[in-house]
Symmetry: C2
Subunit: 448 residues, 2 copies
Amino acid sequence: MRGVTMGIREDVHQMKMLSPTVAASSIELRNRALEAVAAALREHAAEIFDANARDLEEAKDVAPAVLKRLTFREDKLEDVLAGIRQLIDLPDPTGVHLLDRQLDRGLELHRITVPIGVIGVIFEARPDALVQISALCIKSGNCAILKGGRETAKSNRILFEIINQAVTGAGLPAGMLRQAEVHTEIDELLTCERDVDLLIPRGSNAFVRYIMDHTKIPVMGHADGICHIYVDRDADQSRAIPILLDAKTQYTAACNAVETILLDRAIAADFLPRFAFAMKEAGVVLRGDQEVQDCLKNALREQGETSRAKEKQSAIEIRDLTETGYATEYLTLCASVKLVDGVKEACAHINRFGSHHTDCILTENDLTADYFLQMVDSAGVYRNCSTRFADGFRYGFGAEVGISTSKLHARGPVGLEGLVTYKYQLIGHGQIVGDYASGKSHFHFEDL
Amino acid sequence: MRGVTMGIREDVHQMKMLSPTVAASSIELRNRALEAVAAALREHAAEIFDANARDLEEAKDVAPAVLKRLTFREDKLEDVLAGIRQLIDLPDPTGVHLLDRQLDRGLELHRITVPIGVIGVIFEARPDALVQISALCIKSGNCAILKGGRETAKSNRILFEIINQAVTGAGLPAGMLRQAEVHTEIDELLTCERDVDLLIPRGSNAFVRYIMDHTKIPVMGHADGICHIYVDRDADQSRAIPILLDAKTQYTAACNAVETILLDRAIAADFLPRFAFAMKEAGVVLRGDQEVQDCLKNALREQGETSRAKEKQSAIEIRDLTETGYATEYLTLCASVKLVDGVKEACAHINRFGSHHTDCILTENDLTADYFLQMVDSAGVYRNCSTRFADGFRYGFGAEVGISTSKLHARGPVGLEGLVTYKYQLIGHGQIVGDYASGKSHFHFEDL
């Protein structure tokens, strides 16, 4: 196979030259290729599960949460097949006319979406991610070079071979997909700025930051996911607890899990004990400054009249903040807590310490909510729901290649739309600029 | 004034904190500010012209083309005022709902355009550029830090003061615009990646490349403008010459001027002498490889029967290509010429040597044209018109901050739309992800 004998650099150069042909393929062909991929995955399910079992055997010492991510069995297969079916049903993201304008008689401008070209995706050890990312690139007419985590190398290899064969069998050009299997190939890939149009790294903060700092290729994604929930004085407190628990504990290792909870001082004495107790019950360690620690102690003391409250009191506490404080992405059963003077201070804190990923306000007050949604400068600004909704599937995009905290191009969960750009076509009949500069001709812009 | 006493770093940090407030300003306020700017520019015209005259006096030794760019008199004032009026009439680029989707009952997702935030624009010595860029940033609700070329320092200063006072007088926050006047401030600005969301450098290739290589801030723009025109076998040859002359000579220093002309071999012997003669008459020096030089010599010899042709012959020639050949952006009355075997080789050459800026095919053949428009991987792909049309004004954008050859975010001439991003708002009523993971709740995506 080509991938084995040639270097990354040559392969991506071939891809770059191939990319206009892939971009010119019809949506019917691309959808047929996706159907072929789905059929082949089902047909070869046993081999895939077998390869995955061997990966899991080697990885048996890792944490249960990680093991779950590495696993690819019937349920994951069903999920990715459902995702492919969703993608097939979505309209072609390319060839969309974003603008059709007559500049003058016989001089027409069109802005039309086209694939980005060659995309490098470096992702964590999750076999289902390989399938989803390939499918998104096929649907959007992009060439892709894929590097998955080494813990699922055997699963990745067979999945890639199945997908690649199905794609070329359906009639798309051979070489539009390529798998990188060796970690050193990443560094080679980072130097291919002439041939790779976009890099999408996923994984640990340190890894993503390394990619961002060591390449001239545009990078889409996020290093940090420091998400906040602000509990406003007008929050429905009974509804707040389940949201906070979901955002912190439903999947702690996710980038959209909450890391810092901001409490309005106006309700802190009332809400903090209940909140801290619920978190304690869920195994969450809270960290905060002296003020919030004192606030909890005082609140517990005042409530300490009943014996039940006394019982609680002994069980809950807020520990000291770590050194990096509010800029920490715990990714574990730990959260920072801070008291703020209402929505204004909450927004200022989030814009200062957050990572512009996803931040939420809990309030029943429309004016306060509007202020928060307007002033917080993040990809996702939420009201009265869990930050864990920040995800391409949950947004109905069919799949996502990642979540972007950059403000350019795509922001938030990135599906098909983030994998296309546009070009301007200008169709004339001999027009020259000199005639417009001299006043002989005049523009009369008219959108068609 | 603040700009005099504080450093760039502090100023852009203030701007960053201010940017959500600027973003929240109403379009009525932003349009009123633009009206105030226009009125103030007209009111203070004499002072502006006076400052500009002093700039020109100091710059009197520069080339006439440069001097023309530095000059700001009544005609340029009228142009920028017309641009501001056009901008006022354009719809608000912010607050546009790109997506409204119900994810489930009572859980609504909105994708809404918002200003990018803090934008740094570093531009050549052109006083009108300062006005246009400020106006685009005001209209789009962005904070901006502006650094213009030093040759028009006096003009820049008074223009900036007039604009800034008008903007704050109209009610927009003081500090949303800032001027940098010292060249060393650019290096300081490049390190402000926490506070500056986007840099737009304009100017020489070397300067733009320097910016791109020395900052972690996303950069939008272009270093090279190596534009091509391919003259196909089915071109209307009489129409080809005026287009080629316009693209090369109408403004040679522009990034959208043509640098390389590709001729279909099928018509080279016929077209080359006429083309070379027309270029010679316009003072353009042609450069090419041995093949194209021989082709011209042979064609002239064969046509050399008539005395008139003999006369021409002595006057025209094609010189040797320079070392960097087809990757050279001449920006002068010089062009590369190359023979190719039809549209396929033309596209391959352009994708290999071009800078993905603007490239054009001259042909009357629809199929050939479609192939070219599809396969050439550039921001602008043109048919039968001059490459010089690649410009925000000529596209009807009112103004442009620059032309992007990047594929991410904005491509080609960048007007208001390139100065906004979007955020996702998710409005819930207590929804948590756990309920969807457990199957208790289900998404039913429905676009509203």
